[in-house]
Symmetry: C2
Subunit: 411 residues, 2 copies
DNA sequence: TGATATTTGCTCAGGTTGCGAAATTAACCC
DNA sequence: GGGTTAATTTCGCAACCTGAGCAAATATCA
């Protein structure tokens, strides 16, 4: 029964673990300088963490020999706990695992036919997870202190009760098999989160992620946290209208970005212009060989994309834009026109403050994001029970800090 | 010296006060059901709040006579404390005041020439504040437990150190005069926050606010909190390109929404089309009289606006869109075309989940938002001291809950 | 009318957490 | 070996949360 006090303690533990994660090995003294807690409390917490095995004394003795007693350097125990994330994409399952230090220890994927029943997809995921943890040498899967699984799924997540896609059942299956809570979100959004932590925008707090794949979508990271929107419908960049007179889109609209910038749209346009490419690798090959038709097409597509990104930038003000998905493999042939168009339409004040980057995580991004979901939401799992009878919500009062921050907010 | 424990306590006090704010008078028992704290703790906190005068027993005796001892109904003491907000607009100063119950107790405005020095504008603000608190009968201004002033200013706020607009000096002047901390943000953004609390989107957690005035701008409320963006540049909807071949804009770009939907742009276009109107009221009058030119123009402008809003909706997923600023006074003549265009370009899944509304707060919105800034950020003022030597930041781990929430996050 | 049940308001003892001050330990320097 | 310095540990106290239990006020029942 997690009361407010245990929560406070847990928050402080998270704070200390977070410092170790970001700074690497640290002595107790250095830790104390950064965490804002009193030495006594910090030592108490550290003793607890050491006892639990989450933190161990670093073996390296590269201490800059000072005058007094040498400080013991502490570091996270890389074997103490793991978290896994599973991305149930349309035609494949991806899994990934990280250790307590938030270092990726492995990932695996396996394609499957579209429409495979949830039972079999869960079975497949479980097999991949076994392979991962086994290969890592551990044997039995240990979820450690995190005790939750993150899941990425296709389609909007987070809306009210309806469950058209069977997500609730999926969560049930996973809970049953792994015996731990399951957290889920849209896999493209999770890819955005992953890129903001391990990928092209590591450490950046405000990220706009655009994914150009069979579908076109994306996600927003706001203040370091994933943005979901009112009905879990945030990040649908692919269905922004770029040409009201354009082609019909599966979503019911016309001239959506997806009808211009999806894989199929680009390949169709390429073939219509006389090019020959059956899939993205062939298109990439053509681009590498300097095919003028391909380059011209990508220039046009990139220009459209850049216009949409510029509008979003002005509205949302991210500091990094990440472009991912298979089409991003065409590299500068696509990114340069995007950047040109973006620069032309964005506000001049913002222009040199936004950086456009290509995604770095590839197909594991969704699974990694699912892990991040667990790591970020984990304190949620220990919150004290809800009233339950009515959806009582707090207004937007900012939560208490768990870590020092500068109170001098300059107006 | 506010340690983590005092903060915890303060958080719980805020929680209880927040419940009273939103639900109005409540008995201890009802309060207990919602706050998730143990009865003992709750009673302790309430005793403290009653002793401090922040909470008083409600005089009304409309208790639904139950079986046992009748419950004492508690309510916020409307005279216990006040907060003030000041909006330093380009050509006017607006001030507003609220009591602890977050009820607006008064507001006042006074126009002034553009470019007035900060000293005189602060002087003007102080005079307005004196008038307000005096008129309310109180006499001396009491800021109560809040002890901070919120300020709205023109231009981006929240970026790094540079201070081209003299905001730092303004904060200094206000701190000196009122002797309390000063919190500031962009006034249009603050208007968005105000609309999400007291205005057209009361209680809504995800709001997109668009302001059509001399400039065109807006703000985003995400999860009930104001969104600032990486460099304080969020909400610049006015500089989204709607027509790359359009007119030059002051921002340096071309064809920005502001070149189409600002007051001057609309009036110019109206006159160019043969209409006669020197200012917005005259335009509104023409609209009311069914002037076909005006209606046609607004239809076109609204259509442009709707297209931009649709794109933003797909990306951000708000549940309410609020349109404010002087031009919104043209009413349905503008809102209907906006809604049509919005509905046509938004994703069908989202269509009936987004509601478009006209702002309700008028010119006081900025000042009210400044108050909200103080109310929302107030816990910040009591956070424990920072390390100061380096900008140590926590990653995006969600903060601890101060209030019950449903831990069952359905995937 | 009086007894009982029920709900509410409140107190008390106990456990946990955080923190300041003093004591202890382990190195270095002379 | 003795002194110095800094890291670590111990100790005692204060603040906070909580469960249990008691008193107060009222409705219901005999």
């Amino acid at each position: 029964m997690p009361g407010p006090l245990s929560q406070l303690r847990r928050g402080h533990e998270e704070l200390v673990l977070g410092l170790l994660r970001r700074h690497g090995p640290l002595s107790r003294g250095e830790l104390g300088k950064h965490c804002g807690l009193s030495r006594t409390t910090l030592y108490d917490i550290l003793a607890e963490l050491v006892a639990s095995g989450a933190v161990v004394a670093a073996t390296q003795q590269e201490a800059p020999r000072g005058r007094g007693r040498p400080a013991e350097t502490l570091t996270l125990n890389p074997d103490a706990g793991q978290a896994i994330g599973i991305d149930f994409a349309r035609r494949a399952v991806h899994v990934a695992a990280v250790n307590v230090a938030h270092e990726v220890v492995g990932s695996a994927s396996e394609p499957h036919p579209a429409g495979l029943p949830w039972e079999e997809r869960v079975e497949l995921a479980a097999r991949l997870v076994r392979g991962l943890t086994g290969a890592h040498g551990g044997g039995a899967l240990r979820l450690g202190a995190l005790s939750a699984i993150g899941v990425g799924v296709v389609g909007p997540v987070g809306g009210p009760g309806d469950d058209p896609k069977g997500h609730d059942r999926l969560a049930g299956l996973l809970r049953e098999r792994f015996g731990v809570p399951v957290l889920a979100d849209n896999n493209t959004r999770l890819a955005a989160l992953a890129e903001s932590i391990w990928g092209a925008a590591t450490g950046v707090e405000d990220v706009l992620y655009l994914r150009l794949s069979h579908g076109v979508g994306g996600g927003l990271v706001v203040g370091g946290a994933l943005h979901r929107g009112a009905y879990g419908l945030s990040g649908e960049f692919g269905h922004i209208t770029v040409d009201p007179a354009g082609a019909r889109c599966d979503c019911g609209g016309s001239g959506c970005l997806e009808t211009v910038a999806s894989i199929r749209a680009v390949l169709d346009a390429y073939r219509a212009a006389g090019g020959r490419a059956e899939d993205v690798p062939e298109l990439v090959k053509a681009v590498r060989e300097g095919d003028a038709v391909a380059l011209g097409l990508l220039r046009e597509v990139g220009s459209r994309i850049g216009a949409v990104l510029a509008a979003l930038c002005n509205a949302i003000g991210p500091s990094v834009i990440v472009v991912g998905g298979e089409l991003a493999e065409t590299g500068v042939a696509l990114l340069e026109p995007i950047e040109e168009s973006l620069g032309a339409q964005i506000m001049p004040v913002t222009r040199n403050r936004v950086s456009l980057r290509r995604a770095t995580l590839g197909e594991a991004a969704g699974a990694l994001g699912a892990i991040a979901l667990v790591l970020h939401e984990s304190p949620l799992l220990s919150r004290y029970p809800a009233d339950g009878d009515e959806g009582e919500r707090r207004p937007a009062a900012p939560d208490r800090a768990e870590e020092p921050m500068n109170p001098a907010r300059r107006p």
